[in-house]
Symmetry: C2
Subunit: 221 residues, 2 copies
């Protein structure tokens, strides 16, 4: 659970289908990590995940490795270009594999059999590690690389648009007002980075007012 | 490169086939991590890997997650039982997936197209993440989860016995005397933990004297 919209709704879906939630948050040297951690705890509180069921990990090596505007201060966070092809500057190379590996190691240790992740294929025009086929291949690696081979990764929102995710979150009473998505700021969301643009467009297409504050709210839909 | 035998010989093989080496070392809270780091640098020095081509990462969350005698002080390091089935207490859940993910993220950032790992299937009676099929599945996840899809993981010693790895290392002039394998001690290898037992048996079956000091040298072959 990053503290963002997609993982919040994913957690609400997992809970609504009967799973007990254990919540993983990963810091990786991104600019807004303190704000995201705060959002993670606020979302976990709202979903009744006890403190003893939360794990906060630091992947400092993703910042050491660099290559992304999220973790390298020398690369600026660009404004969104939702029509562009290729990965945006915010792409962190192979990031989701690290997050999945932690989730699987934790699941194997606590004898959980499902790892939920809020990956969204709509973002995958630019992020290769958000493609459904990536998760299918990773699931096969999990089956072969763990002792019992019974852990599965689930991506319940991967086929949804952002607007559908917003609507599903509202339907399930997910704490959307506690989430944080902006890559640039930690007090008032900028409204123009990749993440704000995707989020705002989703709320606009769902016809729902985004409850968090923005510096500017361009029309993306 | 853990600082151990298998990754040392793997690096020597990669170099002998024409690759420029960039060396990754991962600490994960294991008991002997300081000794392994020292061995990593000694091996990298011997293989002429410049300091600017080395990356040392800490996976502290593997110790946070626990579940292994390597990272959890409350679980003793047991003596080897090379005939036992199931993973030994030293198994760190899904560990190699974390190491591969770092290697792939680094490779994608520096535009390398191969990630070598010294996984050995002989160990895989107990470690599921040493099975060849795990690497094949992970390679598919790498192809689908990276931008260019051209990075491949190579496991040149995965099909070799420890004795064959020792012989290959000697043939290539790999710095075997600089390596460290013991899970238990940092000055004189114990000779009886899983890792010492596999290593000593390999040297004994190769008919070569292991150049490092041991407290005891049982006959395993």
């Amino acid at each position: 659970m990053s503290g963002g919209l997609d993982s919040c709704v994913t957690a609400a879906i997992a809970r609504s289908t009967g799973y007990e939630l254990w919540a993983l948050h990963v810091r990786y040297g991104q600019r807004t990590e303190a704000r995201e951690l705060q959002a993670f705890h606020a979302v976990a509180d709202a979903l009744d995940v006890g403190a003893e069921h939360r794990l906060v990990c630091s992947l400092d090596h993703l910042a050491q490795i660099g290559g992304s505007s999220l973790t390298d201060p020398s690369i600026p966070v660009t404004d969104a270009d939702l029509g562009a092809s290729g990965p945006p500057t915010s792409y962190v190379p192979f990031r989701n594999a690290h997050i999945l590996a932690i989730g699987v190691s934790w699941a194997e240790t606590i004898h959980a059999d499902r790892v939920f992740i809020g990956a969204v294929a709509e973002d995958s025009s630019g992020y290769p590690d958000c493609r459904p086929a990536f998760y299918e291949a990773f699931n096969e690696a999990v089956r072969l690389g763990t002792v019992a081979g019974t852990i599965r990764i689930e991506m319940p929102v991967i086929g949804l648009s952002k607007a559908e995710i917003v609507r599903e979150g509202v339907r399930l009473g997910a704490p959307l007002g506690q989430t944080w998505s902006c890559y640039r700021a930690s007090d008032v969301a900028c409204g123009t980075c990749d993440s704000c643009a995707l989020r705002l467009r989703g709320f606009q297409m769902a016809g729902i007012e985004d409850p968090i504050p923005y510096a500017v709210r361009p029309r993306y839909a």
